[in-house]
């Protein structure tokens, strides 16, 4: 669909080349070359209550070449831009790690490497995404396939027809790039999307053919869902009007996963626009559930110091200010316990698919 001809530079390539232009024009005017990069931190995000998403603020940081603290980063940024442009020209996609290896070398006449570890190059790619307002997919960088989908959905991937209802228990592994030019949703007859935090729970539901009985799409991201999973959920929600329910552990990290799906993340606030699903619902595990479903206290886990401080941070986030949410978090802090989804197996192996979820769905017992 979007296969650009080799000769004509893509818009993204043009953007990447503009980094070089910045350097050249600054040098021509005897100025310190500088890239202004939007700040990606809690201090530079706004919660847009109207739209229900996290948006990035306007704060930018100048990254200059002739500053001892930033010189190396500046040089690295230019190198990464160069590697990304190379991808554009060859029309290839690659991983973060390959970008790291591609750009790593020892600088001439020195012992110093351009990069010492991958954690130096990864944030630069995000920096470039923000600076050039190009999505990672547009930069042709993909992450690991770290998600699965099963359910009555038919997709087309590289021209192959993928019927997610006929892929057995394992389902279809969600690629990191699910933009319409790569993946098309041909047909979708499901009634809703259930996004599960953990692979084990997703397996349980898939094995029990929960999706068939309740006519839904099962998605998992194995922890914090990667962009591909979030984007696919968003597309199913947007293009086919499916409500999205999020099923996570009852702990601060679970709450945050839900909030990322719903409002977007702090680090990738610029992606919210495209990824966030403001209408997503939190179906469980709620801190009220142990009472409601008679989970014994002994299957809980004591909150550790990190959990407590994280929960206290969440309480102050603007997108957790709704009254039910404040109660939810405070209840967890009050009991001092967290519960894993797996704990439901204490009642019965199939408690989740046979009792818990059906009841929740029937009673519409979820948080917004």
């Amino acid at each position: 669909m979007a296969k650009p001809t080799a000769k004509k530079p893509t818009p993204v390539e043009k953007k990447l080349v503009s980094v070089a232009d910045t350097v050249i024009s600054a040098a021509g005017r005897s100025r310190d070359p500088a890239l202004s990069i939007p700040v990606r931190s809690l201090a530079n995000i706004n919660f847009n209550e109207k739209r229900g998403i996290i948006e990035m603020g306007r704060r930018k940081q100048e990254r200059t070449l002739f500053n001892v603290g930033m010189a190396k980063k500046f040089m690295q940024t230019v190198l990464v831009a160069d590697a990304l442009a190379e991808l554009q020209r060859a029309n290839l996609t690659t991983s973060l790690r390959e970008i790291y290896y591609r750009t790593k070398h020892t600088m001439k006449d020195s012992h110093e490497n351009t990069f010492d570890a991958q954690n130096e190059s990864d944030p630069l790619i995000e920096d470039l995404e923000v600076t050039l307002t190009a999505l990672r997919e547009e930069l042709h960088v993909r992450a690991e396939n770290a998600g699965s989908i099963v359910g009555p959905v038919v997709l087309t991937d590289d021209g192959d027809r993928v019927d997610c209802a006929r892929l057995g228990k394992g389902g279809y592994s969600v690629p990191s790039i699910v933009e319409p030019e790569f993946i098309q949703i041909r047909r979708c007859t499901a009634d809703f999307v259930l996004l599960v935090e953990k692979g084990t729970q997703w397996n349980r539901l898939s094995e029990d053919k929960f999706w068939r009985r309740y006519n839904c799409v099962l998605l998992t991201g194995n922890g914090q869902p990667p962009r591909g999973v979030r984007r696919l959920a968003r597309r199913l929600h947007e293009e086919h009007g499916l409500p999205v329910y999020v099923l996570v552990d009852n702990d601060p990290w679970g709450y945050y996963i839900y909030s990322v799906v719903k409002q977007g993340s702090i680090n990738l606030a610029f992606e919210s626009e495209r990824m966030a699903i403001p209408k997503a619902k939190f179906i469980g595990l709620s801190s009220a559930d142990p009472d409601t479903y008679g989970l014994p206290r002994n299957v809980g886990i004591k909150l550790n110091d990190k959990d407590v401080s994280r929960a206290k941070e969440l309480i102050n986030y603007r997108w957790f200010q709704k009254k039910p949410w404040q109660e939810e978090i405070k209840r967890m802090l009050a009991t001092g316990l967290k519960y894993e989804l797996d704990a439901l197996a204490n009642k019965d192996f199939r408690y989740l698919s046979k009792t818990y979820l059906p009841k929740k769905l029937k009673e519409r017992d979820w948080l917004d």
């Binding site: 350097v23 050249i24 040098a27 160069d82």
Partner: protein, 682 residues
Amino acid sequence: MRAMAKRTRKSKAAVKSKPAPKSKRELRSKAKSKAKPEAATAKTPATDPKAAEAKTPDAKPAKPTTTISAVEMGARQREISVSEFFTKNRHLLGFDNPRKALLTCVKEAVDNALDAAEEAGILPDVLVNVEVAVADGAPPPPPSQATRFRVTVIDNGPGIVRQQIPPIFAKLLYGSKFHRLRMSRGQQGIGISAAGMYAQLTTGKPVQIISRTGARAAAHYFEVQIDTKKNEPRIVENKKIDWEHQRGTQVALEIDGRYQKGRASVDEYLEQVAIANPHVQLVYRTPEAETREYPRTIQELPPQPKEIKPHPYGIEFGILLRMLHDTRSRTLAGFLAADFSRVSSAVAQQICGTAKLSPNAKPRNVHGVDAEALYKAIQSTKIMAPPSNCISPIGEKAILHGLYKQIKGDFYTAVTRPPAVYRGNPFIIEAGLAFGRGPDQAAQTPEAPAVPLAEGEQQDDDNELARVIRYANRVPLLYQQSACATFKSVLETTWRNYGVVQSRGALPAGPMVVFVHMASVWVPFTSESKEAIADYDEIRKEIRLALQECGRRLGVFLRKRERAKGEFRRRNIFELYIEEVVEACARLKGGKFPKEKLKNQLQKIALKRTGGAKTDEILGHESGPEGLPHSIIVTPEGTEGEAPVPPGAEPSNGGPPEEPTPTKETTKAAKRKSKPSKRKKR
């Protein structure tokens, strides 16, 4: 009770048993067979009285053969000679393994040579020769494989009078240094005779000594051995010979040993001797037939330490009793005033008053409860600290010269603390520090082949830890580093404050040598083999203060150098990065890209932003000792500070390149030389 008494007697017998191996074996077998029935009887009454009864008749017939009467035992009980004791316990004197034995032999001989020469007011000239010895005409094995060595040490000391040669070298606990409180290397008079005893024990060869007391006297050649039973010398050979040296002593020992380089080796020992004794001219011929010369850099002897009387705080109760008994004074007050340092007659009266004893009491009559009261009174009376002229520190200048001569570096400093006291013993702590790799080596390092570094790898430079060299009364301490108070003090000093990397609980990292010397009339060693200094709070505190002062000076030096280097490095990294950025831009833009133009433009900006020419200036010139006392700074351009001037005759050996070398150096000349150079750089 009885069993216990027997056991003690038994162990006594075991100690002396070497010359009578038969009796020892007998004793042992008897002891064993005897122990069994005893144990049986001791155990059984509690468990089974019948069995005990059954056993006792069993044991009775054995009695005549297994037990011995007190008379028989008495016949076996006799005195143990010191030599016998140390033959069996040679590890106490540093002969535990062949490698250490070789070192100990060299050490004892060198210590004796230096002590003798210094006491006679002679600048020591010492030659140490270690060679591989062979037992029976076989071709000598390579030094690393050899197990037998011949150690020869020749000095230019005062020599030894003929009659004294045998006891000095072949009688343990014979010497001049034990009975006085004065700082010296040796203390007990064990060392060299123990080395001789070790030689006798391992190779059977006697100690060979040549000694001559002056040009007009004859040289005497002796071969002596120890009669270990009597601790008396046995003269194997004695003749007058011609000797090429006018005065001095030569000792030769043939011993079992091992020659290994590296840590705690003979090489290291002699190198460290040279550092702490720059007034010594030392020549060392290694087993590999290599000659190492350690020239003299200080032309004056260290001041002679004075002999002092014991300070009252430092003596033990038993010693007080002995002194009371031995004194020549007639009254107690007189005894206190005359036999101790820092006790005036007023203080003596005060002590007697506190102890409620008459100042006119006869010292010999003070014993038992009275003596104890006296001892307590002494401890509770305020007495001035002991005089410190009994100690002769190496001195800041000498330490500097020693370090400068032996260790390549960029910065040297030395600190001598004022005297302090522990348990009534005066002592002085000195610390020194050498930092860096020296300008010639520093110039070489960056040219090392640039191997690209893999992930997780780092530059090697950071791994090197500082080396601590420790001395007690100018003698290097090579073993038991971590038990030593000096080492602990180096660890507990926060080197990070002075710009040196140091991980928690470790030595500081970097090309650094830390020198610590403790001089005292009595150095408290943790063990008899004199390997580590005991951990007294007072000592630890002094060491720490000395190290901190060294550290502060190092910090000043490093900060200054860092400032200049920082500018330089900044431009350097910019140059590196500019290259990368230009290349990346060229690839991004593609086609014909004016790379050179962009590079030049960027470099121009870099130069403008980092101070440009000014940096070069700072790096080139401005590195004087910065008002740092007792320090030397070495730069590629030359040496600044109190650097030693090599003696005229010798070709300069790593000495400062500038300044002509005069033929004869006197102390005054040396001082004059260092002053102008100091002024120059300010």
